[in-house]
Symmetry: C2
Subunit: 468 residues, 2 copies
């Protein structure tokens, strides 16, 4: 967990200025001056600046700069760099440097880095790791992706329940360098079972002779090592804790997760949800940003839904074909099709968006479906009436298309909106009930389904009111 | 900031079980037993249980239970309750109880609660507040919504730079009860200007006689009191800090923001973004959850975009009307309209989703537009070719509609996809450049614009290939 870090007030301006200077210095091959400029920033910002250097001047310049950083800084910066830059640096720098960096990384960053490095580099690194740590690393690398096990670190402060506050503080002082956080400390029994938690805040405000046993909390929120990272993130948001202990199936403490790692997970999970709702499935296991993702990968991520929907449109086409004869009799009906289909899609997506987000924040549950359905039916009816009135005026006054056509369009509008709200709200609940991620039923899918429904309703109304 | 808190391993099951017991006990009017059951949980969970009680048994039961809680617990629970429940409780309990709760709340929760309470209750409370605190409260209440000023608390630990570690620790012990966090401490000069930051972790690992001056960091990240809460949240995610100091325009320290408050903000801001992208604008200033929002408010939030798009569809209708004559000659062209418009909308939304999210996470900037445009043109071309080939097969083999119609549909598809990708990626960048929230250009808007474009392209191709 990072400590208070060096930086300043108007960072964006400072960073831009710094980058400009660095690029100029690199242009003139003044590497040492550029390095000094870089060192005015904290490690998070240095990583960001180096990313820009790669973009502007190529990875070679980044590697030169990176090797000129003081060793302790280079480790921190390495942990912050994007995967691609890391892998390229590993390709270029020598084995000794790699070894040093990996050795010095915090344990959770180490696992993170090792997971993304090419397999041959990883095995070379593991060869040179002491046996006990190698075993631990292997255990961590084997946890399934996206579970609490891959987020945790074994570097927590462990206290004995019989210690006094003074003894505990001495121990904390000694262990603090390696620990991810010293603000929450953990007490285990003989069988490594977690029995208590005590915060540094409680420790420093207690008398020196108080026993840990008397100030530790014996009931606490913990996460199972196989818990999904999204659920872990929800618990952090809900309780506002600094750190959560991770236990195995026998309640033995295996590691801790700190809030700073969770902030990244929340951003990742939100991006995944938003992209899925927008009809994009990220098949890229490299976690790359938009601009770093190659065109081929973008095409792969976006194509599946478009192709699936292509099939859905065959049905929409069939519905229209079956009505072609009638349509050519009253061709002006065609001009209202985009509006009716579009409104159905939009209003359905609105409902789906609210429900999918509600499920993600834990506020809506599949069991709520009767209340949600009833709410959406009323919302749909109200919106349907308002839009129908607007459209009646448009068809009659603006387009001059006559009362029967207006009636057709408006009654269709009414039914379509109510139907789309029901569809949009119920489908995500159904998907959740089936155990899948509701965001996977992307808004494009809701739109296409409601397109088919909208057309069927529209043609039905045309039959009724226009006798086609 | 909450400390390590009481709870247990399989919380969901435990909570369900607890709720069931409580509801049964309330059924039998066994209030004391129900209260004892409630007290097995931590304050976050008690608030959640009381919400369920309100839902199942009405607010009266919640108020009875609430009044039976130990005073210190009731304060914590009050801070966690949703606004509506809070306001109802305030209506029912007596002035003395309100006074006690407001007085005991952490300062940032106090501001939060006062902002949402009815004005007459607030003025009654302020009358009974000591003058110095009243002044502070009024200052805080006057910060514009959603800025750093409304999130911060003035209850931080302030150290003198000449103090030794021993003196600092004594001071921290004394002040810890009122402070929001003791893990980051702040050093000011005579003019209240922030000059240094020191973490408790540094303090407890330093020797007793070390001066704060020698261990404090003199460069740090800080937020201006008027900074947007979304930017503050981004800094927390970027740097992973526990707390950030908030300064006024003269660099004077006015408060601090802690990470636990930011987790809520991140959730709120994400929900707002997702809803906006889905075409929903939340006009509700009460921050209510989906099920607590009345039908009328849902209608209000969803109607604006639907009505605006209604106007857009008038143009789409006009494009079709102008082509009616030709359409009735080759009526089978109509059956491909939904597919072409739908695909344009979907593929445009995909691009918009990626760019809007990229802007929100700070990864994409308006300056990147040439790179983004070039990427989207290539992605669009690749997807366009693939979908065109699929459709050529469909039109020729499945629908048997002849080569010229196939050519019309496929060339339109190709052009529409490229165009929609360009539109979808460029519009959010433009909106951002103009200083507005790109999420406000909802996906429904992108769909409608691309609908009109799609139809124009389609009819143009029909003119070229079919000579209409």
């Amino acid at each position: 967990m990072p400590d208070v870090n060096i930086a300043n007030i108007d960072r964006d301006a400072l960073m831009d200025e710094g980058l400009e200077k660095i690029l100029e210095l690199l242009e003139d091959k003044k590497y040492f001056a550029a390095r000094d400029e870089l060192l005015k920033f904290n490690s998070v910002d240095i990583a960001e600046l180096l990313e820009e250097v790669t973009e502007d001047k190529g990875i070679q310049n980044t590697v030169i700069m990176f090797r000129m950083l003081p060793k302790d800084v280079s480790v921190e910066v390495f942990a912050e760099l994007p995967t691609e830059d890391r892998n390229k640096i590993v390709e270029i720098i020598n084995d000794k440097e790699i070894e040093y960096i990996i050795h010095e990384l915090d344990f959770d960053d180490k696992i993170d880095v090792l997971e993304e490095l090419p397999a041959n580099v990883v095995s070379k690194i593991l060869e040179k790791t002491p046996k006990s740590e190698r075993k631990l690393i292997n255990t961590f690398l084997n946890y399934p992706e996206n579970c609490a096990g891959t987020l945790m670190t074994p570097d927590y402060i462990s206290l004995e329940k019989d210690w006094t506050v003074r003894e505990a503080l001495d121990h904390i002082k000694k262990e603090s360098i390696d620990a991810e956080t010293i603000y929450t400390c953990y007490v285990k029994d003989m069988g490594r079972k977690l029995i208590g938690i005590v915060s540094l805040s409680t420790i420093v405000t207690s008398d020196d002779d108080t026993r840990i046993n008397d100030i530790m909390r014996t009931e606490f929120v913990s996460e199972n090592v196989y818990a999904d990272q999204e659920d872990v993130a929800q618990d952090f948001t809900k309780y506002g804790f600094l750190a959560l202990p991770v236990v195995d199936n026998e309640s033995r403490l295996v590691g801790i997760i700190t809030f700073d790692d969770i902030l990244d997970i929340i951003e990742e999970e939100t991006t995944e949800d938003i992209e899925r709702m927008g009809g994009i499935i990220d098949f890229d296991d490299k976690d790359r940003e938009y601009l770093d993702t190659p065109v081929k990968q973008h095409v792969l991520n976006r194509l599946p839904w478009l192709v699936i929907l292509m099939v859905a449109y065959i049905f929409t086409g069939m519905i229209i074909s079956s009505f072609e004869g009638q349509l050519s009799q009253v061709i002006s009906l065609v001009s209202y099709m985009p509006m009716l289909m579009g409104t159905g899609g939009n209003t359905g997506s609105q409902a789906a968006t609210l429900i999918i987000r509600g499920i993600a924040t834990g506020e809506v549950e599949p069991e709520d479906f009767p209340r949600i359905l009833w709410k959406e039916v009323r919302v749909g009816a109200a919106i349907g009436v308002l839009l129908s009135v607007l459209n009646f005026a448009r068809v009659m006054l603006l387009d001059g298309d006559g009362a029967m056509i207006a009636l057709t369009v408006c009654s269709a509008m009414m039914a379509i909106v109510v139907f789309a709200k029901m569809l949009g709200s119920m489908i995500p609940l159904l998907v959740k009930k089936l155990g899948a991620d509701p965001a996977l039923i992307a808004n494009p899918a809701i739109s296409s389904i409601s397109d088919a429904v909208a057309l069927s309703i529209y043609f039905l109304m045309a039959k009724i009111f226009l006798g086609l």
